[in-house]
Amino acid sequence: MKRLFKSLFLVSACAILALGVVGCGEKKEEKKAEAPAAAPAPAGPKTIVFASDATYPPMQYMNEQKEIVGFEVDVIKAAAEKGGFKAEFKNVAWDGIFGGLENGKYDAISSSVSITDERKLKMDFSEPIMAIEQMLVVGTKEKATDLAGLKGKSIGAQIGTTSYFVVKDVKGFKAVKTYDEVGLAMEDLVKGSIQAVVADSPVAVEYTTKKYADKIKIAGVLKSDKVENIGIAVKKGNKEVLDLVNKGLAAIKADGTFDKIKEQHKMK
């Protein structure tokens, strides 16, 4: 019995030690987040690395030449010209894209990021690029035009997006499924595994008019009392990058380049 207690004591002592390590780990994490705020001095035009989840047509996607292209990419490239910086794009999976920004893996996120109050606590945003809406996409035979009409059915959205946030707390669905990419959600809708997908308006329009035009349609817009804007996210306190991006965006909006790009991409 004595031996049992002795070994129990040893084991719990170990556990407490391990807890100490976990605790320290957390503290270190906090410190790290504060430290590297100062960026290296720019030589010539500053290169800003934009992270982009290139699975989001028409905003940003990979073409067959393996380049990241799309509406938002063109906007940033034009803004770079006017704002005096070099834009570089990096394909990063959406889930975890914000973590990489915080860890300093890239300078900014250009991935149709909706500006929300929760995200503003963690990162800074540029001036809005444009407003979007959340749209409900359903199969062509579905009669429902809003969320209430889809009670008891399964609904999908991309993980960690505002599209998911608007449906996650709505009761009455059979399941709310989250997908890594919006394209996989659309594919599941076409297959019939789910009955509806919520997506950003440009993406919903793209999928319902091009890829799966004969199989899915837009059932309606999910009304919200707040305007949803997309913008460029930068690490909290990174004023240097934010100012450059804002300068470029303001310039292309002032001289009409932005509207031209919009027209080229047939955006509303």
């Binding site: 070994s7 556990a15 973590g99 929760e118 960690g160 996989l184």
Partner: protein, 260 residues
């Protein structure tokens, strides 16, 4: 390593020797560490951790479900494949071998995508069903190899003796060979079980709401990456440790190896 410490497990309960460390072994340390950390975090830091564990809870059940059903199906497929691999019938042998070669040559993640998204248009399967099918088919091939190795490891004299006693091939296999092979097979099969459990995290790619997906959903909304994935890792660790204990208990009962 004195002779006196060798204990034949088959002969009765293990007697702890003086150098036995009792509870102070890798398994106990790991499980006490994992469970006490989880409790510590929930009790003293309930702000993120209790919320996280509540959010993860239904994911744990899904992970369990997929694991258990897949293990059962994979064992059945594995047994059939293993028997096919040692079969004297050329056609059956070829069929089983081809199955193993093809499945072993395709990554599980690709198989998951293939069954759910590529074949999905033809046979619209439920996400959980697709996950279980992919896991069972994949691990069935691995286990088939384990079963084959276990069966061929049995001395040829055993089947010759059984045959000369008048057993037919079926009786020889099921009454003589397999009961003996099972003891050799069990440890590697146990490893496969644990590998399968960990690989169920891949099914989250099919938007199955398993433990990992629940963790990702939570972290992508709250940005609490460190806290969420610490919890996810600990929960996986606890489940894996429990399963490995189960396997080693079963081994201790069935194994014919002498434990040192």
């Amino acid at each position: 390593m004195s002779e006196t410490r060798i204990i034949d497990v088959g002969e009765g309960a293990a007697i702890p020797s003086k150098t036995d460390w009792g509870l102070f072994n890798a398994w106990t340390i790991s499980i006490v560490f994992a469970i006490s950390t989880i409790f510590y975090l929930i009790v003293f830091e309930p702000a993120p951790y209790k919320r996280i564990i509540l959010y993860l809870s239904d994911g744990v059940i899904i992970t369990f479900e997929v694991t258990i059903i897949s293990i059962i199906c994979a064992c059945i497929i594995g047994l059939i494949t293993g028997l096919g691999r040692v079969s004297k019938n050329k056609a059956i042998n070829l069929l089983a071998s081809t199955y193993v070669e093809i499945i072993r040559g395709i990554p599980l993640l690709v198989q998951l995508f293939y069954i759910y998204y590529a074949l999905g248009r033809l046979l619209n399967v439920h996400d959980l069903t697709a996950a279980v099918i992919a896991m069972s088919v994949c691990y069935g091939a691995y286990m088939g190899e384990v079963f084959r190795a276990g069966i061929t490891a049995i001395d040829k004299g055993q089947s010759e003796a059984a045959r000369s006693l008048g057993f037919n091939t079926k009786q020889t296999m099921f009454l003589v060979i397999l009961p003996q092979a099972w003891r050799t097979i069990l440890p590697p099969v146990g490893n496969e079980f644990i590998a399968l459990l960990k690989d169920t995290s891949l099914v989250s790619i099919l938007a199955v709401s398993d433990l990992l997906r629940r963790g990702r959903e939570f972290s992508s909304e709250t940005f609490l990456y460190f806290e969420t994935f610490t919890m996810v890792a600990l929960v996986y660790l606890v489940i894996t440790l429990l399963l490995s204990k189960g396997v080693s208990l079963m081994e201790a009962r069935l194994s014919h190896y002498v434990r040192h």
